[in-house]
Subunit: 260 residues, 4 copies
């Protein structure tokens, strides 16, 4: 089979579209942000991406209906004044380095055909400690973009991320340049221990400013509070049980890992 199969669901013409990528990763920040944006706009399904570089897996809905794992591209028409958007979300990133390259390249190629010349990638940045007020760290393809994002409160740190970016959020920018695309990565600080809607909210706030979008953050705030409540409950239970064999740092991860 083809390494990557892109199934268009609709044929659209877009106005100078911007691609926004948010796939599963650290704290699921990027995926939470992209999925939330997609729902709020709301964006419509445009194409489904299947690949042999995803796990050989189907999901089963509560009604018993199967669905092959995929990445999914949505589009949103801005109307008369603004630029259209493409939002890429999905179940997985490619599960091998080679697969990461192949999938990213094919999606970029498809988006390039739709006129995309600009990319924002959304991700989490693991700090390894609880982060009360997540900052948004940035990286970009050129100095103008760095300067512009600083205006929206994005932090460009001399040392972070020290080892660079690994995975789709870096690759969409790095390979994007081979397609003549410019862009930036917005990384929400997060503990790295559980899914983090608060960090996703911080990232989306910056993105909305940069793109002059207005969305309602209420549902995302509610989700963040739900996570807080569960985390608190676990914390309390551990206080009561005293010297449990599992450390607080490990437990929340188990219990909160797949909420989101």
């Amino acid at each position: 089979m083809e390494d990557v199969v892109i199934r268009p669901l609709e044929k659209v013409t877009l106005k100078d579209p911007i691609l926004i990528e948010g796939l599963p990763g650290v704290g699921n920040v990027g995926k939470l942000a992209a999925d939330y944006l997609k729902d709020q706009l709301p964006a419509k399904p445009l194409a489904t991406v299947f690949s042999k570089f995803f796990p050989p897996q189907v999901y089963v809905s509560e009604e018993g209906i199967i669905r092959l794992v995929s990445n999914d591209l949505y589009y949103w028409k801005a109307g008369v004044s603004g630029r259209d958007l493409l939002v890429l979300g999905g179940d997985y990133q490619g599960i091998s380095p080679e697969g990461q390259y192949e999938i990213t390249e094919r999606v970029l190629d498809f988006c390039s055909g739709l006129g995309v010349r600009e990319v924002f990638t959304l991700a989490g940045f693991a700090q390894g400690r609880v982060v009360e007020e997540p900052r948004v760290l940035g990286a970009a393809t050129n100095p103008q973009r760095v300067a512009e994002l600083k205006k929206y409160g994005v932090t460009f740190s001399r040392n972070d991320p020290g080892g660079g970016l690994i995975g789709a959020s870096g690759l969409f920018l790095g390979l994007g340049r081979l397609f003549g695309m410019e862009g930036a990565c917005l990384m929400g600080e997060t503990s790295g221990y559980f899914v983090d809607p608060r960090s996703a909210e911080a990232v989306l706030h910056v993105l909305c400013q940069a793109l002059s979008l207005k969305i309602d953050f209420a549902a995302l705030k509610a989700k963040a509070q739900e996570i807080d409540r569960i985390a608190q409950k676990i914390h309390d239970a551990e206080q009561r049980s005293g010297e449990s064999s599992s450390t607080p740092a490990e437990r929340p991860r188990d219990d909160l890992g797949y909420i989101g």
Copy 2:
């Protein structure tokens, strides 16, 4: 070499055929069921599937004759009134995620050429505990099929399988949709500790109802009783030896794992 080599053994024309897949997996339930069905119909060899995504291995028969590991497609002609069947069994599933996709896609492509528009996949569902009366869990490609299978006693659970289906039984349905095929997966509950003919029997009962097939279950029941006897003997031996270092849950797996 080609990633997947399909060697036809015969040229046949089939009447609206249904593909039934049962490859090695949890409790070998799917393979046991498919092999038993193939023997009982009986179905005839149609094509052999070789692939570099199988292990580089040959089996040697008791007479010393070698045979390259493969998947194998059999066909059965229903006669005047019914629909023909294709049964896929074999030694292995693809041993890498990529291989799973490649093999499944090529077999589906071949079956599509034979007119297949409907697929049943057979599998085990590991419960991690002894299952006295295995239920058959289901997942399907559309709500009509869910409703229909419920009539045959198939359980569609809101939570199981929670993580979806991994491997050939999911992929034949997920990729099958890209070939315009509809279908369902029938999963027999099993402990997951040893091969489980009883679970295979439960799965086959549902399948035979759904396809209006009549087969003799005597030999499969006998196999189930043989497994029971061995399991009982192990259990008794462990009772006698008292505090053995291996747990009962581990021992039967070693001894029963390759019966089937």
Copy 3:
């Protein structure tokens, strides 16, 4: 690059040639036998096989000259009365399952072009214990060949090899059948702990009978005695040192593993 690159060194026409494969494996029995046969005939270099499925490695000779790891095909002309031979030896088998298939298929394709219709593969069979008088176990592509090899003292066991053959020695026969080739595998019993020229000698004796070849075994016997001497020295040293932390079964492997 091509997955497998075969560089012919000479252009030859061969008379109904038989391919003999002996690559590194259990006890290095197959490689020892094939290399020894090649030297004794003596066979001439015919082609070099490079592949990205070998390790990315060069060897350096004592004179400081590098050589890319490879498999190597030699030919021997039988003269007026007999059939010509091709001998395949080398540094490695393919290091991934996929690589095993690709390399074997390409070499078979090349040999098929030279007229090969018959293959002997040489290997070791690990018994996990010291073997004083190694038997030669067999597996073949058809019953006639089984019957014929029994005449030369080859053992066809109902149970061995139980899990089949893994690697080149099985694959050259299994894939060979897709090229219309028949053949057999000769497996010399060996402990599996160190390289075993004695087992290689047993295998070669059978092969020479089957092919009506006469070669001098003196150098191979000498090598076997050298291994015996070293093994005895290690054994004596361990007896003296009493309860060493390493077991006798482990030590010879370390010290003898790369003699050969």
Copy 4:
């Protein structure tokens, strides 16, 4: 995408050019040497090599600008009298055996098109102990080259490197021969515990003699002294702290590993 993408930055005609390879590896000796040579000549960027066999990673500069990981080819024009040079450096070697082959072959193919018939590869040779005065070990594609390099003090040892060379420094020579290229590998002795500019200096001294190049070694010597100072400080700290749980051999590796 293509397995390996070579993006030329400029079109040049070179005079009988020699390729010098120095990628990350043991002690980072090869990369330190190649990068230093490139800066001192100074050589100009000629082409960028991207590949799906590199990690899916971008680096972020101190200014926040991203850059996809790559290998990088530079050229240097010798002027009227000498031969031109190509210097290959980069962030990574291919991260799989297959990737090593693919990348090396494609770069060699590109360089072959530029007229390269001669290759020097630069590497470190891990001794597992502190090396005060690093020797330069050699391996070459032919005896003439061995003899010539001995004149520059290169050591050709009967036993080192015993297992051959693994990775790019061996492969550029081994595969280079398939392109009709001759060459040699220069390996600077190093402990293997940390990056080693002193070993890189030893390697470069030999290379400059062999190529009649004159470069200033001051900055490389300074870097070596900086490493020495840090190593001394760690050593002193450990002496003071007495029986620390980490051994001296482990600690410098952690602290010095990414200087260079």
